[in-house]
């Protein structure tokens, strides 16, 4: 789960990490009022849950009230990578003399939180990673130790020579780590972290992502979620125990297991078809899940054929079959269905399904080919 810059910085503020004076605005008038309050110059920044807003023109410096209004009018309503800008952040302009990058995320290899720091702040860190990887210092945080003073100091000395900045950084790094733990984050980033002309560290921008698996114990974070239309569908699916991602093809897929679902998409594409979605009905299925999945597939008007590929393990084929039979009894399904069932309780599943007279195929390749044949009819 992602949140906006201003929400991240509100969390930073709660931990006494210094951020710019700023306020979120929904209209140009609000932007003008905020500008008047803060004094000139200000920076007007699009708040959208995607990257690359700078390149898209979503960040503007305003040196006059008129410029602030103009910036607000241009940015509000702007489309950035398919996201419409509905609010902007107006932040007091700050004079600074250097920019740094700091970020915390999970490192798969060390199985720990990793702290990244770079003197090349203010640009996209992915670019730094490609062009000058040595400029990014990485520190694996031992989970038993946490961000103790010496670890924070080790990092801080990589960025700063001035001991006053080192001391500020130690405090800031410890707080960032605490935020990471307290909120079950998957990413906490300040880019840029600047040194103001007055010699203080300040978070000019902020970014946080969260571990979806931990949201159940983070109600305050979950309350910040602003899903778009596709995501709402995905969330509703997740509430039913399904993982759904809408794509732009016409073969609706219902598969159990993420890997098999991806492989099923790959096979469809390999034979020239186009999957309409990724849909993993997960393990531990109940008949209700299959009914929900069928409803989800049928709600996409692009879907011309449904391909069901189940390999039973924790999922029982008989549960899937029962769910499918019930779904077909309850709802009008006027498009063809191709089914492949194997694994746990497959025989029982096939027996149940046989009453509905649906086409049953024996391999994934066959299923894909049959689905493609049907969609092309």
């Amino acid at each position: 789960m992602k949140i906006h810059e201003y929400q991240s910085k509100e969390i930073f503020s709660r931990y006494s990490i210094p951020v710019t004076n700023e306020t979120v605005c929904y209209t140009a008038d609000e932007v003008v009022a905020a500008t008047t309050k803060f004094g000139l110059p200000v920076v007007v920044k699009a708040q959208v849950l995607t990257g690359g807003r700078g390149k898209a023109g979503g960040v503007k410096l305003a040196r006059t009230i008129e410029e602030a209004r103009e910036a607000a009018e241009k940015i509000l309503g702007m489309d950035i990578k398919g996201y419409t800008v509905e609010k902007v952040l107006v932040a007091e302009g700050v004079k600074f003399n250097s920019e740094f990058y700091v970020g915390l995320t999970i490192d798969r290899n060390s199985k720990s939180v990793i702290f990244m720091a770079s003197s090349e702040g203010g640009v996209e860190i992915e670019e730094v990673a490609k062009e000058n990887p040595d400029a990014i210092h990485k520190f694996v945080i031992d989970p038993d130790l946490g961000m103790t003073s010496f670890v924070a100091r080790k990092i801080a000395f990589k960025l700063f020579n001035d001991f006053s900045l080192v001391k500020q950084a130690v405090d800031l790094f410890q707080k960032l780590y605490q935020i990471f733990l307290d909120t079950d984050a998957s990413l906490v980033e300040i880019n840029p972290l600047v040194v103001t002309d007055a010699g203080n560290l300040l978070a000019l921008d902020g970014k946080m992502n969260f571990d979806d698996n931990a949201l159940y114990r983070q109600p305050a974070i979950e309350a910040l979620n602003e899903p778009d239309e596709d995501e709402k569908k995905e969330i509703a699916a997740k509430d039913s125990g399904l993982t759904y991602i809408r794509l732009d093809g016409n073969i609706g897929c219902m598969v159990n297991g993420a890997g098999l679902a991806m492989a099923s998409m790959d096979v469809i594409k390999y034979f020239g078809g186009n999957p309409a979605n990724f849909l993993d009905i997960g393990g531990s299925s109940s008949p209700q899940k299959v009914i929900d999945a069928m409803n989800l597939l049928m709600s996409d008007k692009n879907v011309k054929v449904i391909m069901i590929n189940i390999f039973g393990g924790i999922t029982r084929c008989d549960d899937v079959a029962r769910g499918l039979v019930t779904a077909l009894d309850q709802m009008k399904v006027d498009i063809p269905i191709v089914i492949r069932l194997s694994g746990t309780n497959a025989e029982e599943g096939l027996r149940i399904i046989s009453e509905k007279n649906l086409p049953i195929v024996n391999s994934l390749s066959e299923a894909a080919k049959e689905a493609i044949r049907l969609v092309n009819n």
């Binding site: 999970i106 798969r108 290899n109 199985k111 720990s112 939180v113 992915e126 031992d142 989970p143 038993d144 733990l181 079950d184 998957s186 571990d211 979806d212 698996n213 931990a214 159940y216 114990r217 993982t243 991602i245 794509l247 598969v255 159990n256 297991g257 993420a258 890997g259 098999l260 679902a261 991806m262 492989a263 998409m265 790959d266 096979v267 594409k269 390999y270 999957p275 990724f278 993993d280 997960g282 393990g283 531990s284 189940i310 390999f311 039973g312 393990g313 924790i314 999922t315 194997s342 694994g343 746990t344 391999s363 994934l364 390749s365």
Partner: protein
Amino acid sequence: MSILINKSTKLVVQGITGRDGSFHTGKMKAYGTNVVAGVSPGKGGQTVHDIPVFNTVEDAVKATGANTSVIFVPAPLAGDAILEAADAGVELVICISEGVPTLDMVKATSYLKKKGVKLIGANCPGLITPEESMIGILPGNIFKKGNVGLMSRSGTLTYLMVSLLTSAGLGQSTCVGIGGDPVAGLYYQELLQMFEDDPETEAIVLIGEIGGDAEERAAQYIKDHITKPVVAFIAGQTAPPGKRMGHAGAIISSGSGTAAEKIAAFESIGVPVARLPIELPELVKKRLAERK
């Protein structure tokens, strides 16, 4: 021989009284796995499938000598269950539970490393040494004893691959589902080395997927340490970037973690990669034949 589990494995099931725990305990027992105990706090003294239930893993280990644990508890309790198993002295823990918070896994993997206890998962289907022991949720009937070692980040995709191998006459030494979460227990490198050291394994199948760089690291490890033939498959060749494909790990971000990169990493060191699942058995046979 085989890796990790065999006939002498004595299994305790954490969460044995739950719906899934109970169901799959029955399946494991029916397969021939030596399930000696179950754990469910507050239900000590009961039995499930004639298996005694204990309040704590410690009690179960003391009473039955269990040396391996499999976990079926709800995700919010899974991290603690892993710690409990390691504390109680088992050698291997398999966590089936899906949706475990990442920071819980960070804590658990750190503790297990300190204790010298091996972990598989979380969010994995388990593992099997065919005709000896099956632990987890694998459909036992598709596996067959043989000489192919298999490891996979996926569950059901593994079943598909295994059924193709078995149909083609290629039995398996041990098959391990390592799980799809960002922080998990044993990974490709450790398992590659175990298969390399296992006299019964003659070829290794590695099933990967998009996201992260585990496959690239595995390729490097194979180049440096593995002499046995390896064949790979990568799921998600057509997945769009930025979308998480079910597994927490299965996300392509910023132009890295793509299937193309992973396939290139394997092919550059001479590990063939099947484009369709159905191609896999032939590639394995070819590599085995080349070797002889």
